[in-house]
Amino acid sequence: MKRVKRRYLALEWDFEGFIGENEFMGALWGSVARLFGENGASLANLVLIDYSGGSKMATIRANLVAVDMVRAAVASVTCVSQKAIAINVVAASGTVKGLSRRLPKLRK
């Protein structure tokens, strides 16, 4: 069987207050499902890898075939718990190690 290729995306958000990881992932899943339907959402296969509510950053994993869909869905999220939010993908990599190597450079 062919190995499934994946991408790890580092996300950063602007939000007044704190959001829990369940709410956050709910918003992402909701956005993917709204834009691409349940079939599209199943292709994306989103998984939360790392979450830091304090620094407003998270790492998610998605299938490579659906990475464009995930990026579009991430950009389309406008609110969580009826409060405005703006989520941006700050880095993408094929491995968690590669992603963590890129993140400190972005912080400079």
């Binding site: 950009a75 406008t78 941006n88």
Partner: protein, 243 residues
């Protein structure tokens, strides 16, 4: 080579309390060039303020005007008045006649269509043919795609998909702009490009539409507005008695 990301349509006014915040956020998101629409008879101080705020956050400020004429004659008059004053001239096409005239006019840089009323999106094949001969670009504001939901968004996506296909067929340049006035609707350049995936643009085309194409238009117009510009390919190098 690093791309120079541009947002040619930030809808904030210099008097707006959130103006500085929006410009700072735009810079932190990775844009290097921004334009804010001014009225045709703007005050120089307003532009200076915009320039100062942009310079403080390492952004290149672009002087842009949005024209909303009601007839083709009015458009010709307005373009004649503003062309030498502004780096970017955008026409918001509310009628088909204005859209056709704007596409024909070589002095117009960007064609913008109302996002909410899909019946007034006049970017069809004849329009594209005129635009490709005059080198006007089609501007797509991403704000409605972020803010709208339900049937309105579906209709907009459908219209944009058709327009983008036509533009690519005729080789009309496409410019992606944010068109936002609120901080929370700002997205980074790659986020804007990702949204373009929804209406059928691939990653490379979408990234060009937020970087190379808009910066190319600005660069070309700056060259033309330079006092040393004579004609395309001809520049005044030196002037004096010994020449």
């Amino acid at each position: 080579m690093r791309r120079t990301f541009c947002d040619l349509h930030l809808r904030v006014k210099t008097k707006d309390p959130a103006f500085k915040q929006v410009i700072t956020k735009t810079s932190s998101l990775g844009f290097r060039m921004v334009a804010v629409p001014f009225v045709s008879d703007f005050h120089r101080e307003e532009y200076c303020e915009f320039q100062t705020v942009c310079k403080a956050v390492d952004l290149d400020s672009v002087l842009r005007v949005d024209l909303r004429p009601r007839s083709p004659d009015e458009l010709i008059q307005q373009v004649r008045r503003v062309r030498r004053k502004f780096e970017i001239v955008c026409v918001i096409c509310d009628t088909k006649e204005v859209a056709r005239q704007a596409a024909k006019d070589r002095r117009v840089d960007l064609l913008n269509f109302p996002a909410l009323d899909y019946r007034r999106r006049f970017f069809d094949r004849p329009e594209a043919e005129l635009a490709c001969n005059s080198s006007a670009a089609l501007e797509v504001d991403m704000k409605p795609l972020i803010a709208l939901e339900g049937p309105a968004k579906i209709r907009l996506l459908s219209a944009l998909r058709r327009e983008i296909a036509i533009a690519r067929e005729f080789g009309v340049p496409i410019v992606l702009s944010s068109g936002v006035s609120e901080l929370m609707l700002l997205r980074n350049p790659r986020g804007l490009a990702a949204l373009a995936f929804l209406f059928g643009m691939n990653e490379c085309c979408a990234l060009n539409a937020v970087s190379d194409i808009p910066s190319g238009i600005v660069k070309c117009n700056r060259l033309k507005l330079d006092p040393k510009f004579v004609a395309p390919g001809i520049r005044l190098i030196r002037e004096g008695n010994d020449c």
